[in-house]
């Protein structure tokens, strides 16, 4: 398999430019694709960094292959070209949409967006932009809260106007967002300079258009309990931050997860900072909702390090080999569908691509023919060990259940260690079987535990939304349900198997869950055979 040396950077703004620059500085060949720039996207004309091959006005239209050997197709004005790249970084800008509808307004000479006025203020002096003594009203997040980075820009501009021009500003918001650096101080300074801040809860102001096109705003001031009316010479409307429209297509082509709002990263702490569900594909800046110039530049730095780590093969300890026994493989494509990392090639034969595999074990656990074997996974051995527990505590009086706890190495295993660190002890007769992921335990594994004399089986996996593999924990839940069904067909109480979720920090909860389960199985008695 060819390993390429080029890297693809997708994005039309400063973040992508920084990423390209950072990588090129490290001697990595970069192809920078600026995507299909639409009118709604706020871009600045950029000089491409030296050493970077910028393909302007182009888009990614196809991608095959895996980490290290992606074969991509670019389309530039109808002309398609094929390239081989080792890694891909999506650093497209976020989409900033004017928030007119939140305030019941439309764009006009007197009602402008934040970006528009900021852009104008870069070119001309404030005095010529805004009439003397003008009443300027800032509208920032009413029923729907503002993004802190947008609020920061609004506050900074309000302070600037209030301090260095004769404008009289009024800042109207729901929740005043001051979490970004220096914003509390900025807000205090704006107030001290004479800006009037008005905050709302459920009762939002009413707008009316005056004959001279000024905007009349009637509002209830909760602080004084009184009603006010202001006639605005200029209204500055904020923007909302969205996933760039190109991300949907990119996600499909690259087979990437997206979060509920369309950004190119599952809202999963395991993706921190710039990872996606695919090795070799990274996301940065506005494509993962990072807003703010400084923050985007920082993100461009950290993603560059991660990319270089990946290219140098330093991003993980060892590659676990996963082999598909071609003799047993029936080409049912179950593994291909199960793999959350898109790491399985189907042609010419079903193969797990080592470069892309992240060792979750879902494929091996899901293969109906048990054709997939992972090196040093250790689960079958651990299950065997159950039947070799000394002293047969299951037959003692009072009855101490012999339990198998299947746990993923990120949640249950760490929680167990945290529990021991807190000084907790587990009941005798409990055997812990550690797996790579909750989804790495097959139904066979679970049932084999009962064959190895377990009275009860507990499967502990990550919370929904916290699983590194994304879907591993829900597969674990389904397999427990299947195993429970199998148990009841065999005349065994289905409650002897139980699925629970926890996370690495839940040390004492781990002990509680295990103790509860011990009590329940003890009440059921030993498994009679």
């Amino acid at each position: 398999m060819t390993i390429y040396s080029e890297t693809l950077v997708i994005g039309s703004g400063p973040c992508a430019s920084h990423v390209a620059d950072n990588l090129a500085e490290q001697g990595i060949g970069v192809t920078w694709v600026t995507g299909n720039v639409t009118d709604a996207v706020n871009t600045i004309a950029l000089q491409p960094p030296a050493r970077v091959n910028r393909v302007q006005g182009s888009a990614l239209v196809g991608c095959q292959g895996q980490a290290g050997s992606f074969r991509i197709i670019l389309d530039q004005g109808g002309v398609r070209t094929a390239h081989g790249v080792a890694s891909i970084i999506v650093a497209e800008e976020a989409l900033y949409l004017p928030n007119f509808s939140e305030y019941g307004l439309q764009a006009s000479r007197r009602v402008v967006t934040l970006s528009a006025i900021e852009a104008k203020a870069r070119d001309v002096a404030l005095e010529s932009l805004i009439p003397p003594e003008a009443r300027v009203v800032f509208l920032n997040g009413w029923r729907r809260d503002s993004h802190p980075a947008i609020a920061a820009r609004m506050l900074a501009f309000c302070l600037r106007l209030q301090k260095i021009s004769t404008a009289r500003t009024v800042f109207m918001t729901g929740n005043l967002k001051v979490s970004m650096d220096h914003m509390e101080a900025c807000c205090q300074a704006a107030k001290a300079a004479g800006a009037i801040f008005v905050k709302f809860g459920d009762r939002v102001p009413r707008m009316a258009m005056l004959d001279d096109t000024r905007v009349q705003i009637d509002y209830h001031d909760e602080t004084s309990g009184m009603d006010f009316r202001v006639s605005a010479d200029l209204v500055i409307v904020d923007e909302t931050v969205h996933a760039h429209p190109s991300l949907a297509g990119i996600a499909e082509i690259l087979r990437l997860e997206r979060d509920a709002t369309g950004f190119l990263q599952a809202d999963n702490v395991h993706r921190l900072s710039n990872s996606t569900n695919r090795r070799g594909v990274f996301v940065a800046g506005g494509s993962r909702a990072v807003a703010g110039a400084e923050q985007q530049k920082a993100d461009a730095g950290q993603v560059a390090l991660q990319v270089v780590e990946f290219l140098a093969g330093r991003d993980r300890e060892s590659l676990r080999t996963v082999d598909i026994d071609q003799g047993r493989c029936a080409r049912c494509l179950t593994c291909y569908r199960l793999c959350p990392y898109m790491a399985i090639d189907i042609s010419p034969r079903m193969t797990v691509v080592a470069q892309a595999c992240q060792s979750c074990g879902l494929c091996a656990a899901g293969c109906p023919n048990q054709a997939i074997r992972m090196s040093d996974a250790g689960v079958p051995e651990a299950i065997e060990a159950l039947s070799r527990i000394e002293g047969n505590p299951a037959r003692s009086v009072p009855f101490t259940p012999r339990l198998a706890i299947f746990g993923c190495n990120r949640s249950a295993a760490l929680a167990r260690e945290a529990a021991f660190a807190l000084g907790h002890k587990l009941s005798a007769g409990v055997t812990f079987v550690e797996g790579l992921c909750g989804g790495s335990f097959s139904v066979n594994h679970l049932l084999k535990a009962f064959e190895a004399d377990a009275d009860g089986v507990l499967l502990l996996s990550c919370h929904e939304g916290n699983c590194h593999s994304g879907t591993g924990t829900s597969h674990a839940r389904k397999r427990c349900a299947e195993a429970a069904k199998a148990l009841s067909w065999a005349g065994v109480e289905p409650q002897r198997i139980h699925y629970g979720t926890l996370s690495a920090s839940m040390g004492c909860e781990f002990v509680q869950v295990v103790d509860d389960f011990v009590t329940r199985i003890a009440a059921l008695g030993p498994l009679t055979r």
Partner: protein
């Protein structure tokens, strides 16, 4: 049928810079509401300290100066104590009081202040009556166990402490004299009271009348100089 128009205050009608020079930092209010939570009279008359800060910041003095609430304020200062922005709310209340026409301040305060300026105390209590009351209560004290040798010193020169007197102590609450007299006695303190201009309750301070406050304070300073006391105790 039309809905009645709510009464708006138009920002255009306000002079936002009206109180810009007031040194109370009212513009940086966080609207946290702690001042109003601490205030013992918040909500009365539909006012609270946070509202006052807001109105001052907007230059809306016309909406406050004529109101009753600034005079309901006890000037306890709890609002100032809790304010995270360090706004001097109690001082601000006093400044608002100072803006009220002198003949329009609450009657009892007008009368008391006039008395104080004319006679040296809010009750217009003659000197002989004042001294008589003090000596009378002192004699009662000597009848209590352990206080046989108690005495008060009026106009004593060179004492360690000269103390002012709250007018209620020689009017409706004479019994309250005994509590702190006992403390001074047990401490073996060397203290005295002036027979003239003894009033400690400065309604010049309370009504925001700086001139009156200066006059009353000046008289107390004169007492200090005249009696050559070492320390002035001025409970207010």
């Amino acid at each position: 049928m039309t809905n009645p128009t709510p009464s708006f205050v138009r920002l255009e009608d306000l002079d936002a810079g009206l109180c810009k020079h007031w040194p109370y930092a009212q513009d940086v209010c966080l609207t946290c509401g702690m001042c109003s939570g601490a205030c013992p009279v918040a909500g009365m008359n539909d006012f609270d300290p946070r509202k006052v800060v807001r109105l001052v910041s907007m230059g809306m003095l016309n909406w406050i100066v004529g109101e009753r609430w600034p005079w309901i304020c006890t000037m306890c200062g709890k609002c100032e104590q809790v304010c995270p922005m360090g706004i001097d709310i109690a001082d601000m209340m006093r400044a608002i009081r100072a803006l009220r026409d002198r003949v329009k301040i609450p009657g009892i305060l007008q009368d008391g202040l006039a008395n104080a300026l004319r006679t040296g105390n809010n009750l217009a209590l003659p000197k002989e009556d004042f001294v008589f009351i003090l000596e009378d209560v002192a004699e009662e004290m000597t009848e209590e166990p352990g206080l046989k040798d108690f005495s008060i010193a009026i106009d004593k020169p060179g004492a360690n402490i000269l103390t002012t007197i709250h007018n209620k102590l020689v009017n409706t609450h004479t019994e309250d004299l005994k509590h702190w007299w006992k403390i001074f006695h047990a401490a073996g303190e060397d203290w005295t009271i002036a027979s003239d201009n003894w009033e400690g309750t400065s309604w010049g301070y309370f009504t925001g009348d700086d001139e009156a406050m200066k006059i009353m304070a000046g008289r107390i300073v004169d007492n200090m100089r005249r009696l050559k006391a070492k320390t002035l105790l001025w409970p207010e």
